[in-house]
Subunit: 228 residues, 2 copies
């Protein structure tokens, strides 16, 4: 009984996600679903990203949190295209919430949408939102064992960001062990070392985003693939 | 439909949690449910705790992770009384899993059981495991906005630990803002600054645990109250 109901909820979610995906593509908006632990630095990294990227393309953000509008307030300093979703006790964003977000955004003004998921390494992984790409963020302060202990985010992601790389001298963290564990889960996975504080890795990240949403104004998503 | 089924699952969980609580009390074992983000330092803090506490009382640990036995292997260096629970894709421990853990532990050898929940600030909060006390752990590297963004763990907890306090000079974190947000949620909440790396706060923490499980060998839990 329980399983069947959960499957139904997932099925409805996947249908709405497919609608989101179709609409975003029709409107020429590439999309990224950014997932990571509470405090891994998703919002700080987004701030730095917007600082660079809004000069060349329209970027919107849907940001999920249990409560508060703190993330949206921070993002608003960089782009007017931002919607805060409060999930209450919900541990992840669902497609219908993103759908509501899309309805409140001026999609014609956007080339790229970043969906900052609720801070959680587990639940967001299982819910398709209609995004083109999933990005998983870890940070060195969380310890080098997190990919091994949270393999599903590594399996689901198209790119792994390792944030707070500037704090490496101050914590016990083996970069090699982290990489080995990621490789054991997904041999083909790219890991990009980044620092929201110092801007490390930003050029490579921006280039990666550009391949999703070339700032041509034509609104074509190049090389988009379906993830779920 | 969905809500009713979820309620049934919660109801069954609460019944098993009550059985766990009754058994632990009958056997004279105090219990703590430790909750926090992935990488906030739960296991490292437990290692330091066991280093001190096992000299004066029997301490067991049930540790929850999606996968791997890495935490149990670390804990095993300090106490033989450890059970690793793998939840698969489950984002929290449930009472029936703790029940299975209890069946594999020698409860007569224990005065205190620490249940280290799955790394997640959201889902564990809603599931009673039968513990006497809930402890919420944050860390300074996660940012000072986490209590405001995750108020339910603050509402549920009996004590908040703020870990990695030794890293304060290296991160942007307002200790005042953190405290204000905690107070706005729970005016009566104690926050204890700790460092697993340097041992900061260990004496106070050990004293707090001693009030739960006085190392008298009589096995009486003093001042235990029910949390759920």
């Amino acid at each position: 009984m329980k399983i069947q109901v959960v499957e139904n909820v997932q099925k409805v979610n996947d249908e709405v996600a497919a609608e989101n995906r179709a609409e975003l593509r029709a409107r020429g908006v590439a999309s990224v679903n950014l997932m990571g632990s509470p405090g891994c630095g998703k919002t700080a990294w987004l701030e730095r990203t917007l600082e660079v990227l809004t000069a060349e393309m329209g970027v919107g953000v849907i940001t999920g949190d249990l409560t508060t509008t703190r993330d949206a307030e921070r993002i608003e300093d960089f782009t007017p295209h931002v919607v805060q979703i409060n999930t209450g006790r919900g541990c992840h964003l669902e497609a219908h919430q993103v759908r509501q977000g899309l309805q409140r955004l001026d999609l014609d003004a956007l080339d790229l949408l970043v969906i900052e998921n609720v801070g959680n390494l587990i639940c967001p992984v299982s819910w398709d939102l209609g995004q083109d790409r999933k990005v998983g963020m870890f940070s060195v302060t969380e310890g080098d064992d997190k990919p091994a202990k949270h393999p599903y985010v590594v399996l689901a992601a198209d790119l792994i960001l390792l944030n707070k790389i500037d704090l490496l001298p101050h914590v016990r963290f083996s970069r090699e062990r982290f990489q080995e564990d990621v490789r054991a889960i997904r041999g083909d996975m790219d890991v990009l070392d980044v620092s929201a504080t110092e801007g490390t890795g930003m050029d490579t990240w921006i280039d990666w985003l550009r391949t999703l949403a070339p700032a041509t104004g034509t609104g074509q998503v190049v090389g988009a693939k379906t993830t779920d």
